[in-house]
């Protein structure tokens, strides 16, 4: 083991850009042995990029990583190197094979478990670690992972990373490890982590639960916009100062927010749904002509809520009976949006095929006219709308997806964080367009992970753990309030210990293992 509080890794000016987007800009950081390092930051602050680089799954665009034991190790630093240096990582997305047993999954991660009696060894190793970290876990090493609840899978994933086979573990990176664990099990993990750190291990903990970070880390790094903005001992922070540090102090916004439309409570809401995990009576509502923002940390149920609206689910009895035409602007262009074999024009027209059909056939002239109209209206930069959609830059592809939604007869436009990774010029053009269309009576439901975009909204719902935790209108919308609501209960007067047990999968399999 290394000496306590000596640097295990020194990160020197490490940056990462994806095309024009700078995800991480020149980060300097020392990761010390025998210290728990907490990292906090809002969406897009660069936390995930930083740990991917440390884990060797992504190559930095520049900078150096220096290891105490072996000197500089860049470039050519990859997963196997990270493993050789004793770095283990538990990512947010689970990486177990669902068709294998718990013990077999341990074997996949640790090639050293082999030969005669490997299964017994794998069983023993993973069971011992599970017993050590999560006493009373109730997981049998012969259980198939696919049969386990999400929480138990998370426990297996964590225990698997902590399992020592032949080389020592120096650094454990945990990205939102407690997101699907209940309070008691989360506490078990944090206690174990403390023990690991006290014995000289290093650890990085990322969590959106500020209490957890404050309680379990020795030092806290605050990230914003791809850089480190604060780096101090944990005892120097409290909730308030953390939230403050995460917010953008630089931008002194003049409070000349456009006068938000007052809600016409007497009229009927166009959209009114109760999110899946909502336990109180709050509903996501939108009235005609409104721009409604869905805020909060990414992955906390906003997209699901949009899809529910789109598929007309969970309407219960409220909301108008008639179905209103809707269109969705996807956020992840490659996965949810673009048809890669088609031209720009065909990618736009697919949203309005029915209006362009005459006598069963899509009218080519009308099709071309619609494309040209929108090329001008939304300024898609291309010589020819018949060019392949992939010939456009990311921002212009996104514009084409906007055009698809706006060109349709949809009265409600759902936007799934569509401006991610789009340049600022395009953004301004699209904001303008949205306001214009809202003025013409269209309704927008806008999930966004960017604080700035919230100022275009008339009404904002902040999501956490799949439920609405704050409901802000007009002047109430401030960055501080959104941050407070996103990170923890308290600011909006909720229960302090509620980590959203309703978000957990029911452990239906409990009785069957015996």
């Amino acid at each position: 083991m290394l000496n306590a509080l000596e640097p295990f890794i020194t990160v020197d000016g490490v940056g990462k850009n994806y095309g024009a987007v700078q995800a991480l800009q020149s980060v300097d950081l020392k990761i010390l042995a025998g210290q728990a390092l907490g990292i906090v930051g809002h969406n897009g602050a660069g936390k995930s990029t930083l740990i991917s680089i440390l884990a060797g799954t992504q190559m930095p665009s520049g900078g150096e990583l220096t290891f105490a034991q072996s000197g500089i190790s860049l470039p050519g630093y990859k997963v196997d190197q990270a493993q050789a240096h004793g770095i283990r990582c538990v990512f947010q997305e689970l990486s177990l094979c669902p068709n294998l047993t718990v013990a077999e999954n341990a074997r996949i991660l640790h090639p050293a478990i082999r030969g005669v009696g490997w299964k017994a060894r794998a069983r023993r190793l993973i069971s011992d670690k599970l017993d050590e970290v999560f006493p009373g876990h109730g997981i049998n090493p012969d259980d198939e992972v696919g049969d386990l609840s999400i929480a138990k899978r998370q426990m297996v994933e964590i225990a698997r990373a902590f399992t020592k086979v032949d080389s020592p573990i120096h650094l454990i990176i945990l990205d939102e490890p407690t997101s699907s664990l209940d309070a008691i099990i989360a506490q078990q993990l944090l206690t174990h982590l403390r023990g690991f750190v006290d014995q000289g291990g290093a650890c990085i903990l990322i969590s959106h639960l500020l209490e957890e970070i404050l309680q379990s880390s020795d030092r806290i790094v605050v990230m914003r916009d791809g850089g480190v903005v604060d780096d101090r001992a944990a005892r120097d922070f409290d909730r308030g100062t953390l939230v403050e540090a995460m917010g953008s102090v630089a931008k002194e916004k003049d409070e000349a927010r456009k006068a938000a439309k007052a809600r016409q409570q007497e009229s009927e809401a166009l959209v009114s749904i109760r999110p899946a995990q909502q336990s109180d009576g709050r509903r996501l509502q939108a009235f005609s002509g409104e721009i409604v923002g869905l805020a909060g940390l990414s992955g906390h149920g906003q997209t699901d809520a949009l899809i529910d609206v789109y598929q007309q689910k969970r309407r219960d009895t409220q909301g108008p009976a008639k179905t209103v035409p809707m269109a969705l602007v996807p956020g992840d262009r490659q996965v949810d949006g673009v048809f890669p074999l088609w031209s720009i024009g065909m990618n736009i027209v697919i949203g309005s095929m029915r209006q362009l059909t005459r006598g069963g056939l899509i009218n080519p002239q009308a099709e071309a006219r619609l494309c040209e109209d929108w090329r001008e209206k939304i300024a898609i930069r291309t010589p020819d709308m018949n060019n392949n959609i992939l010939s456009l830059s990311g921002g212009n592809q996104q514009k084409a997806l906007f055009a698809r939604a706006l060109a349709s007869d949809a009265e409600i436009i759902l936007m799934d964080d569509p401006m991610r990774g789009v340049d600022i010029g395009t953004k301004q053009e699209v904001y303008e367009m949205i306001r214009e269309e809202a003025g013409l009576g269209r309704t927008f439901l806008w999930y966004t992970t960017e604080m700035d975009e919230l100022e275009h909204c008339d009404h904002i719902y902040v999501f956490r753990n799949g439920a609405i935790v704050a409901d802000l209108a007009g002047d109430e919308v401030t960055e501080q309030r959104v941050l407070h609501a996103s990170f923890e209960d308290g600011a909006e007067g909720g229960k302090p210990e509620a980590k959203g047990p309703e978000a957990k999968e029911p452990e239906a399999k409990e009785g069957t293992a015996s």
């Binding site: 799954t57 997963v79 196997d80 493993q83 990486s95 177990l96 094979c97 669902p98 068709n99 294998l100 077999e104 999954n105 074997r107 996949i108 991660l109 090639p111 478990i113 082999r114 030969g115 490997w118 299964k119 198939e144 049969d147 239906a508 399999k509 009785g511 069957t512 015996s514």
Partner: protein, 311 residues
């Protein structure tokens, strides 16, 4: 506390259950089948089908499908009844080459990211063509030793039962209990995470295809041991039978969930289904139809079990 069987357990018992049901039905209809001779007759062709099913299972384990296995088994049978008999060295060399060809097929499908259905369907014509070149008209003669092995009369129970049990257990240990078996099945379950842990997917796929080729060879050789002569078209229906066998045996098409023991039981069930129908005096016209119906019923039962398991 009452014991509530899990959906997984129920599903793993399904193959044995189907086999038992069909055996009981046969014994009920035809009590004379409950004898050494009767069972031997009923299960005569089970072994080659079981091998073909295991071959298919290896391919399904890595999320592919082999539509050429029947033609391949036919080709092996033709080689077995000609070259293997006349000049054993050449015969063995050709069969070894076949296994290598299967490994290469796996590499091609993985590297070029090709749909296995189309490639293996094309290969089925390749194998059929080769088989016709080796043996243009039905005939040939199985090597004596193959015949001797396949017609060996074991004490107590028909040899097929011993052999099937042995093969099932061997393959079970190779794929379900070995350290590398876990990796190979992991490739079917979550290739990305297996790759991230530093394993080669190409190697895993090639191993499974080679294993499929190996079982295909065993299927063809054991088949001619029973029929004594060969024919290029002899095993074409094995393609469909083998897929049905894997599914009856509890295997899934994607996700690396396979069961060697189940696959062997599934193959036996399918073999018995044919006899069962003839005992029922249902015209042989409905034989393949009944196989389809059994397949659909088993799949439907699975959906029901899964639904019940979710509640």
């Amino acid at each position: 506390m009452t014991f509530v069987p899990s959906a997984r357990l129920l599903r793993s018992l399904l193959p044995a259950f189907s086999l038992t049901v069909i055996l009981i039905a046969i014994f009920y209809l035809q009590p004379r089948a409950m004898s050494y001779f009767g069972l031997n007759l009923l299960l005569n062709l089970a072994l080659p089908i079981a091998f073909a099913t295991l071959a298919q299972m290896c391919v399904i384990a890595v999320n592919d499908l082999d539509l050429g296995i029947g033609a391949f088994v036919g080709f092996v049978a033709c080689v077995g009844a000609t070259w293997l008999n006349e000049s054993p060295v050449l015969g063995v060399a050709v069969l070894a080459l076949c296994i290598l060809a299967y490994a290469a097929l796996g590499a091609l499908i993985h590297l070029r990211n090709l749909p296995s259905i189309v490639v293996t369907l094309g290969m089925s014509f390749f194998w059929l063509g080769l088989a016709l070149l080796v043996l243009p008209t039905p005939g040939g003669k199985a090597p004596e030793w193959v015949r001797a092995v396949m017609t060996f009369k074991a004490p107590g129970m028909p040899t097929t039962i011993y052999a099937s049990a042995m093969v099932a257990i061997l393959v079970h240990f190779a794929l379900m209990r070995s350290a590398y078996g876990a990796v190979v099945r992991g490739v079917g379950g979550n290739p990305r995470s297996v790759e991230r842990a530093g394993w080669s997917i190409l190697k895993a796929k090639m191993s499974m295809y080679a294993l499929a080729g190996f079982f295909g060879v065993l299927s063809g050789i054991s088949l001619i041991g029973l029929t004594t002569s060969a024919d290029a078209n002899i095993a074409l229906r094995y393609t469909l039978l083998s897929i049905a066998g894997v599914i009856l045996g509890g295997g899934e098409f994607v996700g690396g969930r396979i069961s060697p023991v189940g696959a062997v039981l599934g193959a036996m069930t399918l073999t018995l289904a044919a006899s069962f129908l003839s005992f029922l005096r249902i015209s042989p016209d409905w034989q393949i139809g009944a196989q389809g119906a059994i397949l659909i019923i088993v799949l439907a039962l699975r959906v029901l079990i899964n639904r019940a398991g979710k509640k």
